[in-house]
Symmetry: D3
Subunit: 249 residues, 6 copies
Amino acid sequence: MRVDGRTNDQLRPITIERGWSKQAEGSALISFGNTRVLCTASFTNGVPRWMSGKGKGWVTAEYSMLPRSTNSRMDRESVKGKIGGRTHEISRLIGRSLRAVVDMKALGENTLVLDCDVLQADGGTRTAAITGAYVALADALEWGRAKKFISAKAQPLIDSVSAVSVGIIGGVPMLDLAYTEDVRADTDMNVVVTGRGLFVEVQGTAEAAPFDRTELNSLLDLALSGAVSLTGFQKSALAEAAPASVQGR
Amino acid sequence: MRVDGRTNDQLRPITIERGWSKQAEGSALISFGNTRVLCTASFTNGVPRWMSGKGKGWVTAEYSMLPRSTNSRMDRESVKGKIGGRTHEISRLIGRSLRAVVDMKALGENTLVLDCDVLQADGGTRTAAITGAYVALADALEWGRAKKFISAKAQPLIDSVSAVSVGIIGGVPMLDLAYTEDVRADTDMNVVVTGRGLFVEVQGTAEAAPFDRTELNSLLDLALSGAVSLTGFQKSALAEAAPASVQGR
Amino acid sequence: MRVDGRTNDQLRPITIERGWSKQAEGSALISFGNTRVLCTASFTNGVPRWMSGKGKGWVTAEYSMLPRSTNSRMDRESVKGKIGGRTHEISRLIGRSLRAVVDMKALGENTLVLDCDVLQADGGTRTAAITGAYVALADALEWGRAKKFISAKAQPLIDSVSAVSVGIIGGVPMLDLAYTEDVRADTDMNVVVTGRGLFVEVQGTAEAAPFDRTELNSLLDLALSGAVSLTGFQKSALAEAAPASVQGR
Amino acid sequence: MRVDGRTNDQLRPITIERGWSKQAEGSALISFGNTRVLCTASFTNGVPRWMSGKGKGWVTAEYSMLPRSTNSRMDRESVKGKIGGRTHEISRLIGRSLRAVVDMKALGENTLVLDCDVLQADGGTRTAAITGAYVALADALEWGRAKKFISAKAQPLIDSVSAVSVGIIGGVPMLDLAYTEDVRADTDMNVVVTGRGLFVEVQGTAEAAPFDRTELNSLLDLALSGAVSLTGFQKSALAEAAPASVQGR
Amino acid sequence: MRVDGRTNDQLRPITIERGWSKQAEGSALISFGNTRVLCTASFTNGVPRWMSGKGKGWVTAEYSMLPRSTNSRMDRESVKGKIGGRTHEISRLIGRSLRAVVDMKALGENTLVLDCDVLQADGGTRTAAITGAYVALADALEWGRAKKFISAKAQPLIDSVSAVSVGIIGGVPMLDLAYTEDVRADTDMNVVVTGRGLFVEVQGTAEAAPFDRTELNSLLDLALSGAVSLTGFQKSALAEAAPASVQGR
Amino acid sequence: MRVDGRTNDQLRPITIERGWSKQAEGSALISFGNTRVLCTASFTNGVPRWMSGKGKGWVTAEYSMLPRSTNSRMDRESVKGKIGGRTHEISRLIGRSLRAVVDMKALGENTLVLDCDVLQADGGTRTAAITGAYVALADALEWGRAKKFISAKAQPLIDSVSAVSVGIIGGVPMLDLAYTEDVRADTDMNVVVTGRGLFVEVQGTAEAAPFDRTELNSLLDLALSGAVSLTGFQKSALAEAAPASVQGR
């Protein structure tokens, strides 16, 4: 039994507050247990100069943690004057994950910036960020359609995407690691999966102990099952009526 | 009548969610209408090296806005690699305001860092930050007392503190300006007031039109009346039972 | 009696060396006692791209202290690679103060940059900077008029502006604090006043002890009387023949 | 047939010039075809202050590309004043990969810094860097043993480690992608494997097209076969007599 | 005849206002014609940690230009967030030049920082800075002796040092170039010479046209003659009674 | 006799591997004994915006040291976030030296960037860099001619250029100092000379002991003789058939 009473293949309680922000074209406050990430999607008509004239859009992401999202306070990267390696790495991962489900031609010359700010951290912040950012993205695309920046027939979303962590702790594969589990894991893997069950990213790391093919396979099985559940949560959230900020403004 | 139906001397709806963060020693999610600021207080036993051995504590603050807290997305200061003048100025203001109500000798060699992160901005973010940070600070001091870092008899809090904006719009003094009011104001003033009604900061600025003594006085009257209400909201929030994270952890 | 023999409502000796710089379109080396600030005004025909086409001008300011302007040497901000909060705050204050007396339409699409470099510091550097910058600004506007960048009929200067510090020391309100007074003050206020006696900025701060309405009023009285004298010094300086660098070049 | 005549499961020509640097405790100039990376290992007795007293060592890595290692010149990160996300990500990957085969207790309180500087880039720079860094690391450990910083009995190296890229191009899995192949790949995966055939890192990315379990498996098969060959090249290089700089100095 | 009526071997008018700063242990406002540089010397008892315990002192320098010291305004290096190559180069030159005439053993564990801030620039700012910094240095050493940080018998100054620019313009060697001459020079040389006539630095640069041995010799002749005059100005300045700030404070 | 058996007027073994890089338009890996510098020349058709329309080209250079090119590892400037004074100074020196032998009109609106990266350092890195960069530059100009960016008749190279260090050690002038000699030198001089024997730069520095005219002359004699040999090595290298990357690509 795990520290919070879950079974090894069980996600933490997942909640998605869609449209949390009144300012953004799309937004979601997502929780994976005590991990809480505010995801906003900013829609801009037009693309950066180096991309213009190609009839294609652009999707990018930035990840950050509030200084006291963690158990002991971290210095702000803005105060330090530079962004750390981990922040860079996760921002890039989120961006790639979302681009994998967007048809840039169908998006047209529009730009989407996903901001994922961790308000409270308890493990799995990058996977919660990807899962929540998808919901924000879907709403911002609807906003763009309502505003006629995306044509009526275009289908820029070609699939949904979610992410989950898996790891081996004391020899046992487990799904959706909380922070105290994460630090004890021999192997830690983040898996990004589309709604159709295809892999977008597989990032397995063995700082404590290298892993074999069998362990890899059991982790992938767990991750795919978790992704099915997360896809369900995303669908439920998006099935409700769109927040006012998404419809019109 | 104002855009949101308020009278000129009326605050926006104020809410304070005390103990919003499970990680911080004290915290409050405060709303002044659509302005929402997450304030956390981080308590550390000990002081920076340059202060140690004097038997006195230290209180400091950092303010920041999420990139999409505003109507159009701002670049992150961490990405730009430097903190802007406005951020610096408000961080310093919050720090001074809170230090004005803390007895550093009674605090002892302990450090408090107040982080005020604007999740959604609609005018008055610095005044909401000060008002919410006081609640987070009060809880973090209780945590320090529970942990015996502050002696039982010490009274580090010598008063409460809150802040409110006032301004003259079309010749009429108004309390607690929303963003659309703020941009139209001839004169804008931020006033920081203690629970006993004394001034901590008076910052009046006239970019559009210089103001005379009579106008200054009417603005100060409004601010003092607003501060009385804000003090009431703070008292109500702190009258409830302390969140679990404050009591023990 | 004060440390330098002044009465409580007396300014330090004020001198203004107009046209100190041969390079700048306007300049003044101003002294408030031992505080010496070199103020230069740089006039450029045209405005930053984001402002062009609106028929309006722009005025901005930068403040800095030489590393050994103070009693013990400070590190250079250029060497540290970032500008501190205090520098930012004062630069912004100077800019706002001067913009308050300039009619941007009458200025036309021209830019003025005021540089205020503290050569020697003994309290009141920001108030000396504002008072001196006004003289430099007035001369640079005349230069712009001589060069036909400003039309003959335009009156970009709508008032003069000066600034002075006031504070309460040992319960007594005092005018124009020297450094040793400043560090002992319970309350410190910087007041920016136009030649007509209207307020542009009122910035009162109580780090040591909050202040009441009566104290605030006595400080404002002192500041207004000081501003009358400073306006006189500015007028005298500008009444002399313009320096060669301002007339033609 | 591939552009350079290789079969799909064939590595490019691999060369390892061990001891290329006269200054470093261990070094290797490694080539994967036209990709050339200079790897140096710097051995320091002692660890960073935050680690000292724990009887454990530390291994870290930094990756960088010379500005003209690529087809068109890139700006230097030192000139830009900040390190990009990709550089951070790869530096961290190299560090983790090498730490996976080092027993930090056996290393004792010693620090190893691996510098991997890409002199010429043609795809697979990070995998060449890991493979070459292992050789430099092995030599630096021997140097540390010769100098008695590592005890005679200690076995800090618990396995060897190498890395290779694999990808799916036009539906076909291929080993060790050159640059022109890399940009055409639908899926790109970097796999870090120990000499015993265990995984240290599996990083699969699908920016162009998500991949399924079957594709993932075929890529892992290819990677494992490539790793066997790379391990052989490492063994051959290390089987020769140690360079003078490693033996004594 | 030169633009300002000088002969080819004539310096511009040189003035040295010793003790210009009331704050610094030594200071000089030096003019080479319209070039005006404020030089301050900051004396600190003790040396940086990496030098302590060796019984030797340290002398370093920083050079900077005010943004409007030049004909058109330059951006501040503090605002740009980095120091340019030219600033670095000149700061290092000044430091080396002064260290050449200081006996670090006789100085003892004391640190001198020379700040040379160009208030007005018209060519030769680095040579004026070195010449003025020597005067500030000499006074700061006297201050250190008066304060007993330097022992009574110690002779830390082993020589004096000054600097002057020379150049070839239209085939003619000239002494102490003003800005308009400097930009027209084929060859430009800065020469740092001790009071005894020995070279400390010879920096000749030929961006427009390489020079031969004969030209080099004629430039060195001119520079040596100029240095004799500058040494005289330094002696005269130092022959007067020391300013109050140097004697006691 | 010198430490490596050379006579005082003897260069270390010089090797030039022309066309070392397959990516750059021109390149050379140059060795002065154990000092090894990789010099690449990047040719771009066009000039920076501020230069365009003048019919002239631009040549610039950047110098850097790999972190473990030296005996003990240095921190990377990219990681520190700023470039040090020494790096700036040498980059500027290399750029000026090469510009002295290029006719910018004949070059036309083309840009050449010389990157000099020190792979192994043993004294004289800047002189090796200049000497090698000339070879890379010459090849890149040929590439530009082959590509018709430079007209057939144009002669952008007006001379060759090389550089060598000289110094006085224990009273004896010596040529081409190795690192252990450099640190013992009383006077150190870097001399940049054209193929015709004219001076481009003369940079003599006396941190340990000022030098007189006789010593200066003997150093210049040594440098000129060394330059003759270096010019010979450059000619030999360029006399061979051009590498494939230079001819066509």
